[in-house]
Symmetry: C3
Subunit: 273 residues, 3 copies
């Protein structure tokens, strides 16, 4: 099934509008090209709706958040909802400042997200704010391990029911869940955390996957998460003793560029709960 997802991206070449941070924006553009999509970056309120209308999907990332670009996030998000385009939210740093937490929450109030992807602490912050009073128990451990997995899966499903979005919590074990079903994904390599922006890249790729596979957002998001993990493994296998995180960064994008649907299918390691 992941094979088909990957091939749909390569065939349809979804054009993704990105409103994202300036730290990892170049990697996001190159990784979108690598996976078979096409990127447009545009963050001014005066063009956000027009640009989004040209695209198939939207990726909103709140890293290096600033007042200048928040209006564009709202405008593009609402317009994408109107047009039925998939929208991904990457709440980078939610919880680290009121600005980021409040912005993520307001976006969630005004925009219907297809996928929300973050680490466990970011997702917990959103769940506590948006749904704490409404039944989502965000009192899960701060790391997803084999021991805490059942609890984390229940949390992800509950938050997915609350929001109507697919929830992707990435870490040593990744969870991708809608209200009924969760993929727990074991691919990846610890050295991926030595590169800035693998999370941002994954959100961009996820936007391409859910856009090219719009009828199956859960499986599409799970495929994107698997893809990133598998390519983290493949890239790690290429490293020599002199290579560090800079070369690793390049090799991951290279691996995404080269990965076939068959390789993804074979290398994917996951359970479904």
């Amino acid at each position: 099934m992941f094979r088909e997802m990957l091939e749909n991206v390569r065939e349809k070449c979804p054009l993704i509008h990105n409103i994202t941070n300036y730290v990892t924006v170049n990697d996001c553009a190159n990784v979108l090209l690598a996976c078979g999509g096409s990127p447009i970056m545009a963050d001014d309120a005066d063009e956000a709706e027009e640009i989004t209308s040209l695209c198939g999907g939207l990726n909103i990332n709140i890293g290096t958040l600033n007042q200048r670009t928040i209006p564009a996030m709202h405008l593009a998000g609402k317009k994408s909802n109107e047009l039925g385009h998939p929208v991904v939210l990457d709440p980078v740093g939610a919880g680290a400042s009121k600005l980021r937490t409040e912005t993520a929450r307001k976006l969630m109030e005004e925009v219907r997200f297809t996928v929300i992807r973050g680490n466990i602490s970011e997702i917990k912050v959103l769940a506590l704010g948006a749904g704490g009073a409404r039944g989502v128990d965000a009192d899960v451990a701060d790391a997803v391990t084999k021991e805490t997995l059942p609890q984390a899966v229940a949390f992800a499903k509950a938050f997915a029911r609350e929001t109507g979005a697919v929830i992707a919590i990435t870490g040593a074990i990744d969870i991708v869940a809608n209200g009924e079903k969760a993929y727990c994904i074991y691919n990846g390599h610890p050295m991926m955390s030595s590169i800035t922006g693998t999370g941002c890249q994954l959100s961009a790729v996820t936007a391409a996957y859910v856009t090219a596979n719009s009828e199956k957002p859960l499986e599409a998001a799970a495929a994107a998460v698997c893809l990133m993990g598998v390519c983290g493994e493949k890239a790690y296998a290429r490293l020599t003793e002199q290579d560090g995180n800079a070369t690793y960064r390049n090799y991951i994008i290279d691996a995404i560029f080269r990965l076939t649907g068959e390789e993804l299918e074979q290398a994917a390691k996951f359970d479904v709960f």
Copy 2:
């Protein structure tokens, strides 16, 4: 002749002021260093004129355009005109939004550009707006192929006469034209379109080339376009089966760093019409 152009850049090390997008800005800086120039990035209206005055040339790129930096583009452009500095316009995404199209047009009204470099659809948008009523026939095909080449050359020359700028239309076949003469350049590799920002990089390099060869802007721009294509070919030849667009990006900049005037002269493939 291209040899001499390249050697002039390496000898004079032109300092180029870039007002450019945040997606590919790092690549633009590194590619300017690779080709023998030197970059300064500055986009605040409060310093645009001073910075441009320190430089030899100016490169204006409207990717990730936003209201904050548009005034700097006008100020730096006018100041460069006053000082007789070459100015390059890269109308990234002209046609994709009113903001970009209108900004590009206003810049063309207020600033005299030495070179305007874009893909065929961007250049057509500018031609329709600025010159549609004044005789430029922008009704050319949306891809430059062997079949559509004569028509595209005529279009480029007409638009060059209209604007007084050298027009560089890049794609599978590149056209670099002034009102009388056009270089049609066949270098490059299709995989270059899998990297974000090869166009932006080319515009930055073009600014260095026309600055170091200010008496021959047509030939200088053609040399820059050739250089990028030749280096795309050389870099492609280095790729292994595991390499993808991230490594390719690095190898293209590496190739520009290493290219000699003699290599450029020998590898250049073009016709003159």
Copy 3:
């Protein structure tokens, strides 16, 4: 001693708040991860104090300076001072425009810096402005060579006394001085100047070093400067005939990722005056 500095960074993993330019920001993030630190980039006044409060140290870099982010620099700088966090200033382009020169000076008036790192011309501009009338003789040569070294050391020490900061002047020979003592460091490779942002990267690494070694800011800054030079040498040794500045950029970050305290200690070349 440098060995211990490096190991402290790897052990403590200092979290560094960066308010920096959009040209080299990705490299700054990756180099912080490579050296053992952790980066946060945030430049909006609405979150600057909160973000800095979560961190161990602050790195302010005025490249691509603009009016939007200057308030965040002041707020984060003052908050860091309050909290006793080390703060690094990288006055990129001081002297190139009034905006940059004045901003750097105002920051120096309102924020107590632990380290100020720049090239000789940037540091001279700051010294002339801030201290010209108060006894710092900025009339030193524009390049630090063996001949001009004694004079440059005296200048660095005097400016360190004026400001209370460790002064790091980087170039062919690097000087890292407080009021009494100066390290003159001979590591590095000329090709490092063919990469955009090695200075910015060094400032980010310096912030990590002085944060993880807060009782010895002079030695910590000297260790960071040595580290960058040593890794420039190691990376250069890996280059093939086809590699240029793009691969060199990656290899320097890779080398920083791999460098051990023992290697740093052994490869460091410096005098103390």
